[in-house]
Symmetry: C2
Subunit: 315 residues, 2 copies
């Protein structure tokens, strides 16, 4: 949540000359995305988000992400495509970083989704999966099932400093999830991080799906499971909202379809998603100074979600 | 350079209902201003900056700042007035902080001003001083001449950790400046911090003067001296740009006037301004962890400026 790389107005104005986008009118560094530097850019013609990719996004993955955005935007998904310059290039370099100029989308990220908003988000996720059905790109999920045991080992006993017994508890949960993980199932490219932060809305309408930088190839229903864990609980993971959960699934069912077999697979996928976010948040927690200006997200809020899914079938 | 206080989209939408400004369309936390939390807010009607005042701006000073903005905006200065709600109030509370909704101004802050841009900035400063001539408000300059000796004492010998001998050097410079400080002279409310960051421009035209939160009552020409130190050197304070300096003074002379007596007073005022920023930067340097995400500004860049003004008359 910070701008890491400074871009002067002069450098930006020169950069914009490569594009057919009018002249610079305004630029503000925006405190959005923990991974990249983002600027809100207004020109005489339109508005954009300028993204400079910091080290956590591998430059080699950028063509995949940008092809993906192009592909789904062309199929009517409200995802923001990168703008090509006069020579057709979408990936540039600015201040020594890979950089893209991305179309600005209106809408706000809700903090407390209503059932109507969750239904719209579910439908948007289903629409995204339909649009991706014929997408040829692929990218391994380096935060998928196979990564969790190594990540747990890297966190180690330090997890017990967050909560006594946490390391062993996540180990047991992971063993159970691994044993029950679906052997087959529909695979494809998924968003993999569709938190409310990454859905722009106006009222109950989805106006944008953003931040595709965790997109990867994995089980399609795992994406729905991740979204379920992200939308249907309070921030502390203490209370599950049945109305929001039902609406999210109904929206997905309407736009993509949801079979009884799909529903049967979701509980273990959701437990896996909880382990994934508990581990990555745990790692960040252990490796971020408490007084850093970036907000550490509480791993225990995901451990509590895990307990919900372990206790009862929320699908 | 960070958003300190989080405002949810729901809380913001409810807040905007107090105003006649349409409905929320977009909100982005902007990484601007080290003192406050700022959001770029777009509604169906217009665009705004929402500012939440963090502890460094005293709530008691807010009426002064807002009266000032209103006063100069009404006299044609491109300063952004706060928007009144349906009941005429401009100071609100949001997330436990004083908050104002401020009109958005186009334009960008240049990093390397040209003479034409400096001329426009000088003219804008003169215009601001004209507009403030009949402003009744007053606020002591708590970072003015009288504050420098106590601040130097508080920094103490720790300054020598930044550069050996710095504490003694600033002490000598301050004694000389204090002895030579103008005894009379035109006093009034001044901006006191008109760095290029705080001037929005489109090409060579000034479209906004912003960030009045250091505004205070002091010698009018001290404001021009501060601006001179801020605009006419490279970022390291190593090179003075004669063309930019001459243009800044010419712009001010055109719009406000600049007598021979004024010019004679400027060198000591500029040395004072250098001491002020060397000391406040020095204090921040000594009290900001090196790994904090806020950028520490180099106090020595202002010590170098001081040397320029001590060596020769730049006016």
């Amino acid at each position: 949540m910070a701008v890491y790389t400074h871009v002067s107005a002069e450098a930006l104005a020169a950069f914009l000359l490569r594009f057919d986008v009018g002249e610079l009118v305004s630029v503000k560094g925006i405190a959005e995305g923990v991974e990249n530097s983002n600027y809100f850019v207004e020109t005489t013609a339109a508005r954009f988000v300028l993204t400079l990719y910091e080290k956590r996004v591998a430059a080699g993955d950028l063509p995949f992400f940008l092809d993906l955005l192009d592909h789904v935007a062309a199929r009517g998904v409200a995802a923001p495509p990168a703008v090509a310059d006069r020579e057709g290039r979408v990936i540039h370099e600015l201040e020594g970083r890979p950089a893209c100029l991305i179309r600005f989308l209106p809408g706000v990220s809700v903090s407390h989704p209503t059932p109507a908003q969750a239904r719209a988000a579910g439908a948007a996720l289903g629409g995204l999966h339909r649009a991706l059905a014929d997408f040829a790109g692929a990218r391994p999920n380096d935060l998928g099932l196979d990564a969790w045991a190594p990540l747990l080992a890297r966190c180690g006993d330090a997890l017990d400093g967050i909560e006594p017994g946490l390391h062993a508890e996540l180990g047991r949960a992971l063993a159970a999830v691994t044993a029950a993980w679906p052997q087959g199932g529909d695979r494809g490219v998924i968003h993999a991080d569709l938190f409310p932060d990454n859905v722009l809305m106006l009222g109950d309408r989805v106006t944008g799906l953003i931040d595709f930088y965790f997109a990867c190839t994995d089980l399609r229903l795992y994406d729905l499971a991740v979204t379920h864990t992200a939308w249907c609980f309070d921030a502390h993971g203490e209370r599950f909202d049945t109305g929001v959960g039902d609406a999210l699934l109904a929206g997905y069912a309407e736009s993509y379809g949801l079979t009884d077999d799909d529903r049967a697979a979701l509980p273990v996928l959701a437990r896996g998603a909880c382990i994934r976010f508990a581990l990555t948040r745990g790692w960040d927690w252990l490796n971020t100074p408490a007084d850093a200006l970036v907000t550490r997200k509480d791993p225990l809020a995901y451990v509590r979600r895990l307990h919900h899914y372990e206790r009862e079938n929320l699908f």
